[in-house]
Symmetry: C2
Subunit: 662 residues, 2 copies
């Protein structure tokens, strides 16, 4: 038999991911909204609270919930620290409110003298609460109870009494038969950068000032002001470890390297070391620490690449051959996805019977870099390593260093991509890279919302990577780069580009049907002309300044699409929850032609009415438009500026009765 | 650390209700479809199976699943017995399929002599399977392995070999690292009547042949052929227990009864007994048993009412005053929902400290009637009794008597209504009673589908009850009754009416804004003129014959709405899963005017193409229409027949090349 007197139901608690198997994700300072269905049989009224606590706290803190209709309740709490929080929901029958509600329907419809017993029932409830109350409250409560019991008191006085006492009584509710939701749900609270970041990817060895010299970490230091001026705050370096010689790939991924070919940084490991070593040509560990410090001084965090795979020359291959899969001919299985072969890379075998030692070693690698000041990792192809490993690794690292962030480069099938996010990755590459039309973009972002994936999956929108030069950029000219940049930087609070290829509008593919760069930096040194007049660096700096100046663009929580009568143009808004900052983005998705038309704003979602004029201030061009109502005209010319990033400035009445903007 | 080598993920198993807290419901003979997301990291292919077993079985049975795209898998199994089933999903890496898939991409793109090692890997996999296989299979497998290993064998022969061996290998998969979904999910399998039933509610005391006499169970026996002729298979009687005297209500729910007033059957209990007694005026327990047997012989099951509440004269009030709530003045709290008062009814107090004794007694009541042959209960206002009680009661009764069915009369808020279905009610009254327009009806049924409520909530569609004479019936005349009947009997596999008020088109309300019947049978004896010429009895019989003759109408699984260009007309279809039986219903929702227009069928959902002609055979009028494509004309006249119930008869080519219908 269950506990029979317990009659309240608490179900449908949200957020809840896979029945509580995984934590939802939030950012420090967030107000976390929790919802639940709370009800009981019959006509009794219920009350509900969120119970929440930070990891390490023993005692639950409480936050009241409010009914929002259809037995659904909502409340919230603030997460003020990074780390883990736990929460659940408690419901109970609110006997006094139930009594008061019934009384409100009795009064007027029943004779006053017939209510004597009813008043006594109320008085008994108040007395019961008084027994739980502080001495001061107790005295007040007993006073109220006396008024209700006193036949001499008028009905009006009694009703005033029980109206007044309600708030006080809430503190002393009868929770003997309270129900707690069956699960304690978990929340991962990350630092702000997990939710708002601008990434720049750059090959250190291409940072030398002179053509043909192998760039070093010191050269990278010299590049920092350039990156900082564009407004990026995460600088991600492809692997900086020694590169293997055996089966090294040549330029343009040729099967055999020439004697001077530098090899792919992802073919990690040589006689000079493995995953905790730095390619001596790039510099030393001290150089890295200096670089990290200099970057920090300019507002930039360095992200390293975690590519858990080995060149045939990696120390692991000699020291731990049991971590690799052997073929029947005794050779080690190299990476392949037939017909593609990666002879320069040995994958680690996550099914090895020595998996425990392997896991521990890989964790040691991460903690080694954490120990040297790295707090962000971009993880290469996490979807080709065992998923339970990531859950264990990320969980273990974050237990000790909750500020560490992991970006999953899992360009793979959606279920696998989302599972990696569930098990702990802080941010994820997405399909945005290939979503170009209005319908594609809207479907993608609306699906993230509707499916609940947003609770744990933080999109990081990349317009290009060293592996991906999308067709849109190959063919659309400079405007295409601007379009993709604006979309990434405004639809996503987190986004990234691979530069300088991006800002220099590099668009030469290896061959027409390929997304590979011609003469890819993955296999050779580059020297980029950063002062090229067509560089987008100033444009990028402007967009990043807009992002920093508008809180609406610093979160993915409030993205909403609006209609346009021209399908070549996308219109969406982002807003803070309180609507104090609203940004409307209008972007021409056609890089070749001017597009004009009318937008149709969902005014209610923006807190606007159809009657008032408001100013749409284009932060890109500094142009200002007076708009009114839902329908407003636009005209977007790709060769100058293909988009508006409009800040909504509402009119307010001042004391002097002038119209002012705020 | 988790089990590190286990790399497969099984998630999103469906059906699953509230994380497995409640069973889904199915009917004996159903093919249960189970779905799940099954995948692993990297490029390895996975395989999956459903594991299922009947309650009491120790060993899982297995049924293969197939991938349906996007890492989603589907399989099914047959439930051949009533009672409980359990199921879960297992996934593993299919090493041989992974190898075979890679080989299929290697062959042709790599030189044959470079594949020697690959063939050896395949041979090793086959040998590993051979070690698990039966002697016969083992010999065959080793034979295949030998071919793959043999350098002398041609590539073609090898490929033929590994093509052939695949099916055999599936039996001996390497499941060392198989993953089982974390939960065993439960299924309640009910007998057929839970999924397909036509209910008729009737007051026994109004069954006397002569005006003014108190009808008896023997009179009810005489009424059975009338009910059977209409085609009903469940006859539900309001409470048949002794009725209290104290505070008895008079005609039309007058506060005070006159000396001859018969009282509400729901005011249960008097000095003549309580919930296990029969009102002596109705007859004896033997009369009931005889009635049940006679009904059974005519294809009708008797359903009793479980109304767990007491008149002030009920034996419980004397014997168990602790089961009732006392007011401060020492009186027992009667039922009320201010300003409504039900002085003739004392609710049971489910928060009594003696709740265990109360629960056991109420279970005894149910088992008492089960012991006398009752297998269906209509439960009065279950939403005003503790929900955990129902879960315990229904679970306990069905453990011993899985054939017992419970219909929840919970006209209450949706969350509470659905929770009662989750905890075990076999069928539920619904909001259908008040859904009149096309939009209302479509929204209601589509919401049930979309929300997943259908997995556990079986709607039983009532057009009227003794408590509810909907406005549509009050004002729409005879056609309104026909419309509501057709909708209930065809949209719902389970439906019911309260008669003879329904078939005689009784439409007088107590007052204009009321849904109460004038001179309600709840408070007085009635004598109905069953031979009234406007009776719908023959019409009802026809519709029930159509239901019995068409399997499409015997399940709620395949309801689909189709377009019409006239919003006064609703069009929907029901079909068996294999589309061997398809019924299209077209119903004029306007009881006053002829409506014409065009339907727009979703042909694909019906397995029809746009080119072929098919016959739409109206089973109501026996009219036949030759239809072609999605758009077809209709004309529905409420005063004759407001609806078509069309059986789709497709043309088939016979051997003689004539067009035939089947």
């Amino acid at each position: 038999m269950p506990e029979g007197q317990v009659r309240v139901v608490v179900e449908g608690v949200r957020p809840e991911i896979d029945c509580g198997a995984f934590p939802a994700k939030r950012i420090v300072g967030d107000i976390v909204s929790v919802e639940a269905d709370v009800f009981t049989d019959g006509h009794d009224l219920v009350a509900a609270e969120i119970l929440y606590r930070q990891s390490g706290e023993e005692v639950w803190r409480r936050s009241p919930m409010k009914p929002v209709g259809n037995d659904h309740w909502r409340g919230d709490f603030l997460v003020s620290e990074i780390g883990k929080y736990y929460y659940t929901v408690e419901g109970w029958i609110d006997r006094f409110e139930t009594w008061r509600d019934a009384m409100s329907r009795r009064v007027g419809s029943e004779p006053e003298d017939g209510l004597r017993t009813e008043y006594r029932i109320g008085a008994d409830l108040i007395d019961a609460a008084a027994r739980l109350a502080s001495p001061e409250d107790s005295a007040r409560l007993r006073d109220f109870a006396r008024i209700l019991r006193e036949d001499a008191e008028e009905g009006g006085a009694k009703r005033a009494a029980f109206g007044e006492v309600a708030t006080l009584l809430q503190r002393y509710a009868d929770r003997r038969f309270a129900v707690r939701y069956g699960k304690e749900l978990c929340l991962t609270v990350d630092r702000e950068k997990a939710g708002f970041s601008a990434w720049y990817e750059m090959f250190p060895r291409s940072c030398a000032a002179e053509q043909g010299r192998y760039g070093t970490l010191r050269d990278c230091e010299a590049r920092l002001p350039y990156v900082a001026a564009m407004g990026f705050d995460v600088l991600y370096l492809p692997p900086i470890h020694p590169i293997g010689h055996t089966s090294r790939k040549g330029k343009n991924n040729e099967v055999l390297a020439g004697p001077d070919d530098v090899g792919s940084p992802w073919a990690i490991g040589s006689e000079e070391g493995g995953h905790t070593s730095i390619d001596p040509k790039l510099g030393t560990l001290d150089d890295l620490c200096s670089f990290i410090a200099k970057a920090k001084a300019q507002g930039i965090e360095i992200a390293l690449d975690l590519a858990f795979q080995c060149s045939p020359d990696h120390p692991y291959v000699r020291e731990h051959p049991e971590w690799f899969r052997k073929r029947p001919d005794g050779t080690i299985q190299y990476a392949e996805n037939p017909p593609k072969k990666y002879q320069d890379i040995f994958p680690l075998d996550f099914e090895t019977p020595q998996w425990k030692e392997l896991w521990e070693e890989l964790k040691r690698v991460v903690l080694f870099w954490v120990g040297h000041g790295v707090r962000i990792f971009r993880v290469d192809n996490p979807h080709t390593k065992a998923i339970p490993f990531w859950e264990w690794l990320i969980g273990g690292v974050k237990d000790r260093h909750p500020e560490v962030l992991f970006l999953a480069e899992a360009f793979t099938r959606p279920k696998l991509m989302y599972r990696l996010a569930k098990v702990g990755f802080s941010q994820s590459y997405t399909y945005f890279t290939w979503r170009n039309t209005r319908a594609e973009l809207m479907n993608y972002f609306q699906d993230l919302e509707k499916s609940g994936v947003r609770e744990y999956f933080r999109p990081n929108l990349w317009s290009n990577t060293p592996d991906i030069l999308p067709e849109f950029l190959q063919t659309g000219g400079r405007a295409a780069f601007m379009i993709r940049f604006i979309l990434a930087a405004t639809m996503g609070a987190n986004y990234g580009i691979y530069g300088p290829a991006f800002e220099l509008c590099e668009n030469a593919a290896k061959h027409p049907a390929s997304e590979e760069y011609l003469n890819s930096e993955k296999y050779e040194l580059k020297r980029w002309n950063l002062e090229n007049p067509w560089s987008l660096k100033d444009f990028i700096a402007r967009v990043n300044r807009i992002r920093r100046g508008n809180r609406a663009l610093q979160s993915d929580a409030n993205l909403r699409f609006h209609g346009t009568d021209n399908p070549q143009v996308i219109c969406f808004s982002k807003a803070t929850i309180d609507l104090s900052d609203i940004v409307i983005v209008l972007c021409n998705l056609d890089p070749f032609h001017k597009q004009t038309g009318w937008i149709e704003l969902d005014l209610a979602s923006l807190g606007l009415d159809g009657r008032s004029t408001f100013q749409a201030h284009d932060l890109l061009s500094d142009g200002r438009f007076l708009w009114r109502g839902a329908s407003n005209y636009f005209e977007l010319t790709p060769e100058s500026l293909p988009a508006h990033i409009m800040k909504v400035r509402k009119f307010v009445r001042t004391e002097r009765d002038f119209d002012y903007y705020f």
